[in-house]
């Protein structure tokens, strides 16, 4: 049976470090190796950073909701914001080169795609954006 952990926090950068701690604790409890644990934590923080800055526009009144689903063969994390969403289909066709130093921002989705096995986006009506990150654990 999968287990679900739900966390909700205000859109403030100060809370992003908490995600690292939560992901680290779960990864340790699941016996994940350090590399996989880091990839999950890095990706979830990127998703939450996007939710905070682009979705909720750094408004502390708007919360970010994170649902972690831990299963025997997979860990998935859903991140919800209250934003208007973006044209992710178009964005995914033209992901910027992350090594381009002329661009200060815009590496988050590339990092998530590289470090996770699956990433999907959904715009939920009257709610906001939902990003789902999945990591298969078959390599252990």
């Amino acid at each position: 049976m999968p287990e679900y952990i739900t966390i909700e926090f205000p859109s403030r950068h100060e809370y992003l470090n908490m995600i690292d701690i939560v992901c680290g604790e779960i990864a340790e409890d699941m016996g994940l190796n350090l590399e996989i644990a880091n990839e999950i934590a890095i990706s979830v923080i990127e998703a939450c950073t996007n939710a905070l800055e682009h979705g909720n526009k750094s408004s502390p009144e708007k919360n970010i909701r994170m649902v972690i689903k831990r299963d025997t063969d997979k860990i998935s994390v859903e991140v919800y914001d209250w934003g208007k969403g973006f044209d992710y289909k178009e964005y995914l066709k033209h992901i910027p080169d992350p090594s381009d130093i002329q661009k200060v921002r815009g590496r988050g989705i590339f990092i998530m795609k590289e470090m996770m096995d699956n990433i999907s986006f959904e715009l939920i009506k009257d709610r906001g954006m939902k990003v789902t990150l999945e990591k298969n654990l078959y390599r252990l």
């Binding site: 690292d20 923080i45 090594s99 921002r105 590496r107």
Partner: protein, 114 residues
């Protein structure tokens, strides 16, 4: 993010601690960089040993500092890069941009060999 600046062998060493995750950190770090430029300090080493976390926004802050220094014929190199930060640098290929060191003496000496 918190910081402390010291100097060794003509090199300004910026010790960062806490989290580098965007927000106000961007203007604070860029202010530091311009303060150093005003003092004609263009050889910079950023010590990341006390940095608990960095995200892509934080990397953007370092990139901004790097490009500013390069535009002024200076450089910005990294010291004590943790495994988490290394994995971010490698996946984004920014490891090819930033010169990084595990040893402070080597980082400082790298400027005198240029």
């Amino acid at each position: 993010m918190k910081y402390r600046i010291r100097e060794k062998g003509g090199v300004a060493i910026i010790e960062l601690s806490g989290k580098l995750m965007g927000g106000d950190d961007s203007s604070i770090f860029q202010g530091l960089i311009y303060d150093l430029l005003e003092k004609n300090k263009k050889n910079i080493v950023v010590d990341l040993s006390s940095l608990s976390w960095i995200n892509s926004a934080g990397m953007g802050i370092l990139i901004s500092g790097y490009t500013t220094m390069r535009k002024h014929q200076g450089d910005l190199k990294l010291l004590h890069v943790s495994n988490k930060i290394k994995s971010l640098l490698y996946v984004t290929k920014l490891n090819l941009i930033f010169e990084s060191f595990d040893n402070e003496k080597e980082a400082v000496l790298s400027y005198s060999s240029n």
